[in-house]
C-alpha cells in the first residue's frame, strides 16, 4: 500500500516495477519453503550453517533441536508471503497495466481486479461441483452408472434421511423460534446487551468444542455410580434412571440437535432483534391503544412486519443444518442410528474409499440447498431492479 502512495510519478514509474519484482522473487522463495514438507527446519538449519552452528543444523535436519523456532520461522514466512505477496501481486500487476495505453488499460484492468477471484472460484467451487456431479454418475472405470445412487435405497438410508429431516425441521425451527422469543423478551429489559452477549457467545465456539462442552452435559455413568453429567445428575436427583443420551436412539439425534440450537439461537436472535428495533413505534402504539395485549402486539404486529428477516434467518440456518457434519462426526461418528448425509459422505470417501457414492451424497446435499440458492438469486435480482 505504501508503494502505491508514492507521489513522484517518475520515481513510481521505475521504483514500483523493481520493488515489485524483488518482492515477487521473495514470495516465490517463500512459497518454495512452504511447499517443502520440512521447509521450516531446513531453512533454519541453513541459517545455522551460515552462522557456524553446525551442531544445531544437524539436529534440525534429524528432526530434533530447535523445532519450535523452526515452526515460528515458518509461521513468519507464511504470514509475509500470504499477506504481503497478495498485495504485491495486485499493486504490481495493476501498476504495470496502468502503463499501457488507455484503451487497453480500461479493457484489461477490470480483469486484473476480478481475475484472481474468478480463477479461485472456478478452481475451488465451479469446477469441483461439476466434477462431483459427473463423478456421481460414473463407476471407477468411467462408465455411466446409476449404481452410486443405490446408496440411497439401502435400508439404513431411511434413518439418515429421517435424521436430516429432524435436523432441518427441529434444528432450524427451534433456533429461529427461540431467537425470536429471546429477541422479544430481551427487548424489554434494561440489561439487554448483557443478556444478548450471553446467548450470542456460543457462536464463537467451534462445533468440535461445543460437542465436548455438551458431551460433559450428557455424560453418563451406570446407575448407582456418581453422575458427573449435569443432565443425568438432575434425572437421578428426581429419582429417575440415568440415560446414555448420545448412544440411545432416537434421543441422541435430539441431544445433538440441541448443541446446534445452543450455537445458532444467538445468530437468529441478533438478526431478529435488529429487525424488531426497526419496527416503527407508532404501529405498536396504535395496536396498544386498540387494546392489544403485549403478546398480541408481538405475534400480530411485530412478527408479520419482520417476516422477511425471519425467512432470511431460517434459510441461513437451514443450510447449516442440511450440511451438518462436525457434531455427528465428533459425538458418535453416526454409529448409533444418528447418522446424517454429510457424515455418511465423509465415511464413504475416507473410510470405504468409494468416491462414486461420496459424490452421489454430495450431489444430494447440493440438490437440497438449490431452493435456497433460488431464493437468494431472486432476492438479489429484485434488489438490483430496485437499485
Amino acid at each position: 500500500m505504501a508503494v502505491a502512495r508514492t507521489e513522484n510519478p517518475r520515481l513510481s514509474r521505475f521504483a514500483l516495477p523493481i520493488a515489485g519484482l524483488i518482492g515477487l522473487g521473495l514470495c516465490v522463495a517463500g512459497i518454495l519453503v512452504l511447499l517443502d514438507r520440512q521447509g521450516g527446519p531446513h531453512l533454519l538449519a541453513s541459517i545455522y550453517d551460515l552462522l557456524g552452528n553446525s551442531a544445531g543444523a544437524t539436529d534440525l535436519r534429524n528432526g530434533s533441536g530447535d523445532q519450535v523456532i523452526a515452526k515460528i520461522l515458518l509461521a513468519a514466512i507464511a504470514l509475509t508471503v500470504g499477506v504481503g505477496g497478495i498485495w504485491l501481486l495486485f499493486i504490481g500487476v495493476g501498476s504495470l497495466v496502468s502503463l499501457l495505453r488507455p484503451r487497453w488499460r480500461d479493457r484489461i484492468l477490470p480483469w486484473v481486479f476480478v481475475g484472481p477471484a474468478l480463477l479461485l472460484l472456478a478452481v475451488f467451487l465451479v469446477y469441483p461441483a461439476a466434477g462431483t456431479i459427473l463423478r456421481s454418475f460414473v463407476d471407477d472405470h468411467g462408465q455411466f452408472t446409476l449404481r452410486n445412487y443405490a446408496v440411497m435405497t439401502e435400508s439404513d438410508f431411511t434413518t439418515i434421511l429421517r435424521n436430516n429431516a429432524f435436523w432441518l425441521i427441529v434444528g432450524t425451527g427451534a433456533s429461529v423460534g427461540l431467537g425470536l422469543v429471546f429477541a422479544g423478551l430481551f427487548d424489554r429489559i434494561r440489561r439487554e446487551s448483557l443478556a444478548k452477549t450471553i446467548v450470542f457467545l456460543p457462536l464463537a465456539i467451534s462445533l468440535v468444542g461445543a460437542s465436548v462442552i455438551w458431551g460433559l452435559v450428557y455424560a453418563w455413568q451406570p446407575a448407582g455410580q456418581p453422575q458427573i453429567g449435569l443432565l443425568n445428575s438432575i434425572v437421578v436427583a428426581f429419582g429417575g434412571q440415568p440415560i446414555p443420551w448420545v448412544t440411545t436412539s432416537p434421543i441422541n439425534v435430539f441431544a445433538e440437535i440441541v448443541i446446534m440450537i445452543w450455537l445458532q439461537t444467538g445468530f437468529a436472535m441478533v438478526v431478529l432483534s435488529a429487525a424488531i428495533k426497526g419496527v416503527s413505534g407508532e404501529i405498536i402504539e396504535a395496536a396498544r391503544l386498540d387494546g392489544a395485549s403485549e403478546r398480541q402486539v408481538f405475534l400480530r404486529v411485530i412478527v408479520p412486519v419482520i417476516r422477511g428477516s425471519i425467512i432470511t434467518v431460517s434459510t441461513t440456518i437451514a443450510i447449516v443444518t442440511i450440511k451438518i457434519f462436525d457434531i455427528v462426526y465428533v459425538t458418535t461418528g453416526g454409529r448409533f442410528n444418528d447418522d446424517v448425509v454429510a457424515n455418511r459422505m465423509f465415511h464413504e470417501i475416507f473410510q470405504f474409499f468409494d468416491d462414486g457414492r461420496g459424490a452421489a451424497l454430495a450431489t444430494l446435499l447440493f440438490v437440497a440447498v438449490l431452493p435456497v440458492m433460488y431464493i437468494n438469486l431472486s432476492n438479489f435480482r429484485r434488489q438490483q431492479r430496485g437499485a
Binding site: L34, I72, V81, W111, W262
Partner: protein, 301 residues
C-alpha cells in the same frame, strides 16, 4: 445505519417506558431472562470448571460440587493444561492454527475487495452474469469440492501443506467475502468516484485511497467472520491438512484427543478450552463489528 439509530433508539425507549410495569408484574420476565442466561452459560461454565479441577475428583463428583466447596484441599490445578499443551501436542496445534488462520483471513479479503470494487464501480463485459454466479455460489456445499480438489492436491503435492489449505479456505470464503464487500462498496456515494476521476486518479488509486479506507468496517466485519470460520473449521482441515502432528490444527487435535482420551474429561475440557480461547477473546472484543457484518449479510434481502 448511524442516521437511523436515533429514531430507533427513541422508539425503543418509548416502548420500554410504556412497558415498565410494577416490580411484581415484571418478575416473570426477569426470571425467565435469568433462566435463559443460566441455561446458555452452564454448559461452558461446566467445561471451564472441570478443566481446572483435580483429575481425581472429576470422575467421582460433578463439577458443581467443586464450586460449592472451593477451598477444599487439592481442589484446583493447572496441570491438565500443561499435559494437553505439551504431551498431547495442543501447543503445536495452536501455532499451526495461527499459521493457517491469519493468511486464510487476509488473502480472501484482499482478493475479494479488489473484485467487489470492480463489480461495483468498474464497468466491463459480463459483469452482471459473473456477479450473479458469485451470489449463486454462496450456498454451494463445501462437500461438493472435496473429491476433485483432493485429486488436484494429491497430484500437485499440496495435500498436507499450509499453502494448500490457505488456497482452499480462500476459495471457499470468497463468495461471501465478495458479496458482503460488494453490498458495502456499491453503496459508497458516486460523487467520490467521479471527483476522483476528474482529479485524474486511476482505478488503482481510487481503490487504495477511497474504497479501502472507507470500507474498513465491512472489511473488519468479514475478517472476524472468516477468522472464526477458519479457526473453528474441522472438515476442510481434516480433508486437506490431515491428521499429521506436524500440520494439524486445533479442531483436528481436539477431535483426536476425543478419540484417544475419550473418558479423560480433565484433558478433554482443557483441550477444548484451548481451542475456544482465541475466538472467544476476538468475539468479545469485536462483537459490534461482528454483529454489523451479520446484519449486512442477512438483513439485506
Amino acid at each position: 445505519m448511524t442516521a437511523s439509530a436515533q429514531p430507533i433508539e427513541s422508539a425503543r425507549i418509548a416502548r420500554v417506558a410504556a412497558w415498565r410495569p410494577p416490580f411484581l408484574r415484571s418478575l416473570p420476565l426477569r426470571l425467565s431472562v435469568f433462566a435463559i442466561c443460566a441455561l446458555w452459560t452452564l454448559p461452558t461454565l461446566g467445561l471451564l470448571v472441570t478443566s481446572v479441577r483435580n483429575p481425581l475428583n472429576i470422575t467421582t463428583s460433578g463439577w458443581w460440587t467443586a464450586l460449592l466447596n472451593p477451598f477444599a484441599p487439592n481442589q484446583w490445578t493447572l496441570s491438565n493444561y500443561q499435559t494437553v499443551l505439551s504431551s498431547d501436542g495442543m501447543g503445536n496445534a495452536f501455532i499451526n492454527s495461527l499459521i493457517v488462520t491469519l493468511p486464510s483471513t487476509v488473502i480472501p479479503i484482499t482478493i475479494a475487495a479488489f473484485a467487489a470494487y470492480a463489480f461495483a464501480w468498474v464497468p466491463f463485459r459480463g459483469r452482471g452474469i459473473l456477479f450473479t454466479i458469485v451470489v449463486g455460489l454462496l450456498v454451494v456445499p463445501i462437500q461438493m469440492s472435496l473429491i476433485p480438489i483432493l485429486q488436484i492436491y494429491s497430484a500437485g503435492n499440496l495435500y498436507g501443506s499450509f499453502l494448500g489449505i490457505w488456497l482452499a479456505h480462500t476459495g471457499f470464503g470468497l463468495p461471501l467475502a465478495i458479496f458482503l464487500l460488494y453490498n458495502f462498496i456499491s453503496q459508497l456515494p458516486r460523487d467520490l468516484f467521479e471527483s476522483a476521476a476528474i482529479d485524474g486518479a486511476s482505478h488503482l488509486q481510487a481503490f487504495t485511497r477511497i474504497v479501502l479506507p472507507l470500507s474498513v468496517p465491512a472489511l473488519g466485519a468479514f475478517a472476524i467472520f472468516q477468522f472464526l470460520w477458519v479457526w473453528n473449521d474441522l472438515l476442510v482441515a481434516l480433508v486437506f491438512l490431515g491428521p499429521g502432528a506436524e500440520v494439524r490444527v486445533l479442531p483436528t487435535a481436539l477431535f483426536q484427543l476425543i478419540g484417544s482420551r475419550g473418558g479423560s474429561w480433565h484433558l478433554l475440557t482443557a483441550g477444548a478450552f484451548i481451542t475456544m480461547v482465541v475466538p472467544l477473546v476476538v468475539f468479545l472484543l469485536l462483537q459490534r463489528a461482528f454483529v454489523r457484518g451479520i446484519l449486512a449479510g442477512s438483513v439485506k434481502s
